[in-house]
């Protein structure tokens, strides 16, 4: 077994107020991004201006919290300048690490700012020892954020083979597409999750209500789900849509269901496996979400490290579709 280390709690922030909430609630590190295509959560009204980032980094550092900046999209061929500018800015502002997916961005940090930590984004979809070793060897990656497709047992085995830290998702979106490769939203909206940073941009989303209280979710020109009057709803993404298909009667969640990952019961196993950092998803969520989820996991991790039974707050009200799963961490047969 790996030596037991206290994992860092890595928390989301879509706004400066959310960042302050995360710091105050006990985050070890906050991850956040700029208001442009370098950021895989490039949603309207969200994210940080350079001035806001500067103040936020100061606030976080004063509270003993690190700031990890997400530059985790893929520049279109020959158009890497914006990503380089954001790396320069992040280094100047004192970021503790940049989370990157693209090798050109990683190479620029390696060559220009050798002391700036590189974390490999989940968008790089690296889960094999060979892939991870490549990023460590070639770019000096210090930490890899693992895709949400691995069991705890697989993570434990991986940790024995790779020369870097590992970060796993423990709460939030249960996205199981091959991350960084999913083009479903491009197909319907014309915008790219991976290069524009916008999956199901709000401008392409409409909700329509019928007289019976049911609600349809429309993305672009397509209806991707219809919820009955008493049914809980999910995000307007194609991977969480419900479709008619020959193999099933009625609507069928052909890709994934509207459900959130909640690995709170798996925390002791993940800590024993030697995971270095736990990530909470949700930069698009409110600061109320950040406050509640960070506080709950702060308490749970601290309890476990103190040798106590973890106290696990009920977070189901914050989950997508008000449903939660331990996902692949527990079993590959999560559905």
């Amino acid at each position: 077994m790996n030596a037991m280390v206290k994992p860092e709690l890595i928390c989301p922030a879509g706004t400066p107020a959310a960042l302050r909430s995360a710091v105050d609630a006990g985050a070890d590190a906050v991850y956040c991004g700029y208001q442009n295509a370098t950021n895989a959560r490039n949603f309207v009204g969200l994210n940080f201006t350079p001035e806001e980032m500067e103040k936020s980094i100061r606030y976080a550092h004063d509270g003993g919290t690190k700031v990890l900046i997400t530059l985790n999209t893929f520049p279109p061929a020959g158009k890497v300048e914006l990503w380089k500018e954001m790396v320069d800015l992040s280094a100047r502002l004192g970021a503790d690490a940049c989370i990157v997916a693209d090798i050109a961005v990683a190479a620029y940090i390696r060559d220009t700012y050798p002391d700036l930590r590189i974390h490999l984004s989940v968008q790089a979809a690296a889960s094999s020892p060979e892939a991870i070793e490549y990023y460590v060897r070639e770019f000096g990656v210090k930490r890899v954020v693992l895709p949400r497709i691995m069991t705890v047992s697989e993570i434990r085995g991986l940790l024995k083979e790779i020369p870097c830290e590992v970060e796993t998702f423990i709460f939030g979106n249960h996205g199981l597409m091959v991350e960084g490769r999913c083009s479903l939203t491009n197909y319907v909206t014309g915008q790219s999750t991976n290069m524009d940073g916008a999956c199901s941009p709000a401008a392409c989303v409409k909700y329509e209500r019928a007289d019976d209280g049911s609600m349809s979710t429309i993305l672009g020109d397509y209806m991707i789900d219809r919820f009955g009057p008493e049914e809980t709803a999910g995000y307007p993404t194609i991977c969480k849509g419900r479709y008619k298909c020959d193999a099933r009667d009625g609507g069928y969640y052909a890709f994934e269901e509207p459900i959130s990952l909640n690995a709170s019961t798996m925390l002791p196993d993940l800590i024993n496996a030697g995971v270095h950092a736990f990530k909470i998803e949700g930069r698009q969520r409110s600061r109320a979400y950040v406050k509640k989820v960070v506080a709950a996991f702060r308490e749970a991790v601290d309890s476990i490290m103190a040798g106590q039974e973890p106290r696990l707050a009920d977070l189901v009200a914050l989950t997508e579709g008000q449903k939660q799963t331990e996902g692949a961490l527990k079993t590959k047969k999560w559905r």
Binding site: G45, G213, E230, A288
Partner: protein
């Protein structure tokens, strides 16, 4: 623009207004105007998050009170007033929910997505405008509900505390179901 039927889930409708206002709307509107101007002065940066949607009109529909709120969050031409339910004015987007849920959103105690998942919050019209408004309001330093309560001194703060308790009890009842 869309027309929105009343949600059976959210209640409202005849006889469903436990928070009936004691004042006619023409008396309420100067107070709302004062509130929105104060919030704008205290939080000038919030408008940046609205982008072009600062010119949009939002209809905020607390389904369990007998009027709705009409908001244009444009710092150059702020507008916030109560409107009747019979003929809603033109709007880019409508946000409907129970009064206490909308209050706890403004108090940064509730997550808007969670209310949407549970179908306690209904959004119709321009989704992008609503998302921008949500993000702008979520990034203000002091919760808006608190700033409004402070404007009315100790009675305002006492009223907010009473409403917070009512919201907490409503949450507990919902959780127990």
């Amino acid at each position: 623009m869309t027309s929105e039927p009343q949600s059976s889930r959210l209640g409202g409708g005849p006889g469903g207004f436990p928070f009936a206002p004691p004042l006619p709307l023409f008396l309420l509107n100067p107070i709302l105007k004062r509130i929105v101007h104060r919030i704008a002065v205290q939080n000038p940066d919030m408008f940046d998050r609205l982008g072009p949607h600062r010119h949009a009109y939002f209809l905020i529909d607390p389904v369990d009170i007998p009027f709705m709120l009409y908001l244009r969050p444009d710092p150059e031409a702020l507008d916030f007033r109560a409107v009747g339910r019979r003929n809603p004015p033109p709007h880019a987007a409508r946000i409907s929910g129970k009064f206490l849920d909308l209050l706890t959103l403004m108090d940064t105690e509730q997550d808007g997505d969670a209310l949407f998942f549970s179908r306690d919050l209904i959004v119709t019209g321009d989704t992008e405008a609503v998302v921008c408004l949500r993000n702008a309001l979520d990034d203000v330093d002091d919760p808006i509900a608190e700033s409004v309560a402070d404007m009315f001194g100790p009675p305002g703060r006492a009223a907010l505390n009473a409403l917070r308790r009512a919201a907490e009890n409503a949450q507990k009842r919902k959780g127990a179901k």
